[in-house]
Amino acid sequence: MKKFERLLSAIVPLNIENIDTDQIIPARFLKATTREGFGENLFRDWRYNGDNTPKPDFVLNDPTYKGRVLVAGKNFGCGSSREHAAWAIQDAGFDVVISSFFADIFKGNALNNGLLPIQVSDEFLAAVFTAVSKDHNAQLDVDLDKQTVTIVSTGEEAEFEINAYKKSCLINGYDDIDFILAQKDLIEEFEQKK
């Protein structure tokens, strides 16, 4: 897993609530057996018409929006456990997703891939949407070490929570398997007691 570094980036806003993982990557694109390449079908049915022409009013097709931070309405990533959703978002060039609420499985999947889910208050989320509607190039400063996200133009700052262990995994690029395997003796001991 790649190491997560402090990020200064523009914002891609998607002000929709309850975005489920079927929207993020529809099931018919889950047939690949590798982790790569899902980005081209990210938000497929919102992004393209049935004849594969881009829908011009969708934010990912608007060249004035770019950046590595996706900002979305509450309950982001609900539904199917498909990790392909996190892979697709990452593959499309995002390092951070901000919402006022994340579904559990998506949040775990994102963290396991070095994609940082940041949960903020409804008010801060609204402030981010306002900032980016005024200026499509508005920047966010994401500092994982300090656990803060700042709207650069206004200086509005929010702190966010992250499990201390997962934070160290992200900063150092470690994953859970290394951690658990180091405790293999304990696992075998547990199995014998059972």
Partner: protein
């Protein structure tokens, strides 16, 4: 110290608990399928690791399999490759596979229980969010992502934060024509598609206790639709009777030992839950969804809530959902023509669902304008339906009885609902495009689906039951 059922099972599976870290939780059984496992097997190869406990891992092909002519090579190349990869990976890593053609093949959440693999007190995971289904037996069962599938392969453990606990009580007696599916759609409509996030839910109360195992599975199955990781029900005599004698269930002295343990699996009377909700079974009628998340449901005789009645900042998303569905504020859905009826999925594809539908449609004909697919949950369900002559009833009614798989629940194979068409479905998700690009899904019980199949319109099944 008094404990909830979740805490009892959780604590019995903690390998290590250390402040500042998630618990290392031991996983008894790992179920896998073709779609969320290949990248995990790849990961093992890259690390040079084996599957630590292949005998605690069970595989089947379900998400991406055809539901007609299953024994012929899969036509679509990517799908065929994905299913072939599962066969190859299982052989390489020593995992039992109930693949296409095997008499145990079926939807992973249907075969676990019917084979006696799902048992009270177990921890079970699968790379599928509806793993919550197995909680019906008093197990901690939840869906995981592919990185976690790899973790379980490599270590038979997961790093997990202990969840918060919620108790949902449903007391009283269900009315005629009202089923487990209506209970869970009703709860969802009350607490929303995010109302259970962060929790493990225990369902309790007299209306839950009165349910069969298969009905309990329908309830636990949709826990994830509230955002909950899992849902469970304390095991009781109904549970034990269901399990006894199944293929891999304990037998003889093992049975007695297991049973003694299972009888300790309940929430202590004075255990505290982080949240408690209570509902009255008499308030629940046949339910239907009108929007694009499973929380957007209502009693079938009710009218669609108006956009203006929604909180300000949610109105845009709400309106988007109604536009997608082609519905208007305050509209009634009764009498609305439907194009497809899908009876299947890990929510409602078991033998009791098929029996209920068959009994209702016996000597009736489907409406001409409707296409009806019945997709059994497993080869065993399919065989039993044939043994009981249900296939003849479906044939006479003009329903297509297909072969087992996830099918039109997620439209990953060719079983897709065409754009713009309305599908009354016994599955679990009405997300945009879930059943096919631009398809419109209305979630209901098998009985309400059967009524729509016969009339060709959205119908209150209670009226048809009263006529009969």
């Amino acid at each position: 110290m008094s404990k909830t059922l979740v805490e009892k099972i959780w604590d019995a599976h903690v390998v290590k608990s250390e402040a500042g870290f998630p618990d290392i939780l031991y996983i008894d059984t790992h179920l896998i399928h073709e779609v969320t496992s290949p990248q995990a097997f790849d990961g093992l190869r890259k690390r040079g690791l084996p599957v630590l406990r292949p005998k605690q891992t069970v595989a089947t092909a379900d998400h991406n399999v055809p539901t007609i002519n299953q024994l012929q090579p899969i036509k679509e190349e990517l799908s065929r490759y994905q299913v072939d990869m599962l066969t190859k990976n299982c052989a390489e890593f020593g995992i039992e596979l109930y693949g296409l053609g095997h008499p145990f093949q079926g939807i992973v959440h249907v075969i676990g229980p019917e084979l006696g693999i799902t048992l009270p007190g177990k921890t079970m995971v699968c790379g599928d969010s509806h793993t919550s289904t197995h909680g019906a037996f008093g197990a901690i069962a939840f869906g995981i992502g592919t990185s976690q599938v790899e973790q379980v392969f490599a270590t038979q453990c997961l790093l997990q934060q202990k969840p918060k606990t919620m108790k949902i009580e449903v007391n009283g007696t269900l009315g005629k024509g009202v089923t487990a599916k209506d209970i869970i759609l009703y709860i969802l409509s009350k607490i929303s598609a995010a109302g259970g996030t962060g929790y493990f839910i225990e369902y309790a109360g007299s209306a839950i206790e009165a349910l069969s195992m298969e009905a309990r599975m329908t309830i636990c199955n949709m826990s994830i639709e509230m955002g909950a990781r899992g849902g469970l029900i304390a095991p009781d005599q109904t549970t034990f009777d269901y399990i006894k004698g199944r293929e891999f269930a304990p037998a003889g002295a093992e049975w007695d030992k297991a049973l003694a343990y299972w009888k300790t699996l309940y929430s202590d009377a004075d255990a505290t839950f982080d949240s408690v909700l209570s509902f009255d079974a008499e308030d629940i009628g046949p339910m239907i969804t009108y929007g694009t998340n499973p929380g957007m449901g209502m009693g079938i005789q009710e009218h669609i809530p108006s956009t203006s009645s929604q909180p300000d900042k949610e109105q845009l998303s709400y309106q988007k959902a109604l536009d997608y569905m082609g519905f208007e504020d305050d509209a009634s859905l009764i009498g609305k023509p439907v194009d497809y009826v899908f009876i299947g999925s890990c929510t409602n594809s078991r033998i009791e669902d098929l029996r209920e539908v068959a009994e209702f449609v016996k000597h009736k004909q489907k409406a001409e304008s409707v296409t009806v697919w019945i997709v059994p949950g497993s080869k065993q369900v399919e065989q039993q339906a044939i043994n009981e002559g249900l296939d003849k009833i479906f044939e006479e009614a003009g329903f297509q009885l297909r072969e087992p798989g996830c099918s039109a629940c997620l439209g990953m194979n060719e079983d897709k609902i065409p754009a713009g068409k309305y599908c009354v479905s016994t599955s679990n998700r009405n997300f945009e495009g879930r059943q096919g690009p631009d398809a419109r899904t209305l979630l209901v019980s098998p009985l309400t689906a059967a009524a729509a199949a016969i009339t060709g319109k959205i119908t209150d099944v209670r009226e048809m039951l009263a006529e009969a």
